[in-house]
């Protein structure tokens, strides 16, 4: 690992200034992903900006307007918080991240800004496209865990469990940079490789995530997160789905569906939402809605199973949502 200077910024406002002035700076909160990347040599910062001592990033508050959670809040603290229980699907998603130990270390902001798991990306031996090279090795390589939709020129999946749920709950993400604050819809926060193959979200060089806002309207929704993984004790999702809706008798309204594990960003299933809005979620209708969503999917050689999985998980998620 390359030597670095470890900086404790004196307040949130100082972070963008450090990011802007340092040539290679890395934001570091729980550090579980960042440190692994530094060990591997895929991140070689000169300056590591420690966010853990910024106590005004680590809060969980709820009021009339909704739930506000600081980017520095530990995942374990979110799970334990009474305020977060008002959005059960959100807590399910947070609980499904990593392991007990990792949730004791990892933060909300870190989870939303973690880097991809693609093994070519994670190995310093592959100078792949996302790291500035010319080739995506996943296209003809081992691509069992890669995306089935929204790829090109890079076929990662975005690994966060919390991200799809934030989209389903119409959450917003607050970002602070040199020019001050801005609030972005969770739905607009992550980007596809066609827009920018080198980063996964809209953060500018001088920006950091400071908080997440889940509107009070989310409390009136039923929400549920279903995660399918190869190893049940802990693992990243092969496919996961976050669903949120209001139940009007048997009918679903205000339906929002977002997938993890299928695309380079958390994938909002707009076509499936439209097909299900105002409808009774019968098995046939749900499968048809998912089929419409993934009609244009382009699986790679080893991941066609994800198309089937994505359809079946939506069926399961909505069945459980209605039954809950």
């Amino acid at each position: 690992m390359k030597p670095f200077e470890y900086v404790n910024p004196k307040d949130i406002k100082s972070v963008p200034k450090i990011l802007a002035e340092a040539e290679r700076a890395l934001l570091f909160a729980g550090g579980t992903d960042a440190l692994a990347r530094m060990k591997e040599g895929i991140d070689r910062p000169d300056v590591v900006v420690n966010l853990k001592k910024l106590t005004d990033l680590a809060f969980i508050k709820s009021d009339r307007k909704g739930l506000r959670i600081g980017a520095g809040a530990l995942l374990a603290d979110i799970i334990a918080s009474k305020d977060a229980q008002a959005c059960p699907g959100f807590v399910e998603a947070v609980k499904s991240v990593g392991t007990i130990q990792l949730r004791n270390m990892g933060t909300l902001g870190g989870n939303l800004c973690q880097r991809p798991r693609c093994w070519y990306y994670r190995s310093a031996r592959f100078d792949c496209l996302r790291k500035g090279g010319d080739t995506c090795f996943a296209i003809y390589g081992d691509n069992k865990y890669h995306c089935i939709i929204g790829g090109d020129p890079c076929y990662i999946v975005y690994p966060s469990d919390i991200a799809p749920m934030l989209i389903a709950l119409r959450a917003e993400i607050e970002v602070v940079g040199l020019k001050g604050k801005r609030r972005v819809k969770a739905d607009d926060f992550w980007v596809l490789p066609a827009q920018d193959p080198y980063k996964e979200n809209i953060l500018q060089n001088d920006e950091l995530v400071t908080q997440v806002f889940i509107p009070a309207s989310a409390r009136a929704l039923k929400s549920h997160y279903v995660k399918f993984r190869e190893r049940d004790s802990f693992d990243f999702a092969m496919v996961s789905v976050a669903v949120a809706a209001r139940l009007d008798g048997e009918r679903l309204t205000d339906v929002r569906i977002a997938y993890g594990g299928v695309a380079p960003k958390p994938w909002r299933a707009v076509k499936a939402e439209r097909a299900l809005e105002g409808q009774v979620a019968t098995e046939e209708r749900v499968l048809a809605a998912a089929a419409t969503e993934f009609a244009n999917a382009e699986p790679l050689e080893q991941n066609e199973y994800k198309v089937i999985l994505a359809k079946n998980l939506l069926k399961r998620a909505l069945r459980e949502l209605v039954a809950a």
Partner: protein, 202 residues
Amino acid sequence: MSEQQKPGLSRRGFLKGVGGGVVGVTVLPSLRTATARYGTSVGPGAARITLTVNGEKKMIEVDPRTTLLDALRDQLGLTGSKRVCNKGQCGACTVILNGRSVLACSMLAIDADGATVETIEGLAKGDELHPVQRAFIKDDALQCGFCTPGFIMSSVLLLRQNPSPTLDEIKYAVSGNLCRCGTYPHVFKAVDEAAKAMKKGG
């Protein structure tokens, strides 16, 4: 889980890193000035930290790159916590930090400055093993033993928070620990027996 990073930098950093002869461009002097204005900093040289490890106060000097695990093993001679994957994927390095279980391989030692750390070495009282340790031996809850210190730390923490766990609660408590020898059923049994022994005051 993890961190946000300054977007784009990774790429630039990478390009520079593979540039062969032109590496070694650092901007540390100007940064020093920047950080003085915007906060405090340590490194790239060694930093002094204080830890309370198994009840004893220790002061050590660490390079900021040192993980808590390496500081424990290499500088404090506490080799009980195991370095297996070294990337947060197995739980063999589990220690209790300020009352919570964490992966010592996945955090910097400097971030543990001022913290209380409990490792497997601190469990026995003199020659008397902790009830969880005794149960692991009695129930053959290990084969190669590499995962064992991590499993035991997770189990000890569970029994502290929940003295009468159900089987599911035991499974959940050690779900972040991997055993490639597959001793899980024996681990569950050992934790259950340890819980019962501890309630009897064993």
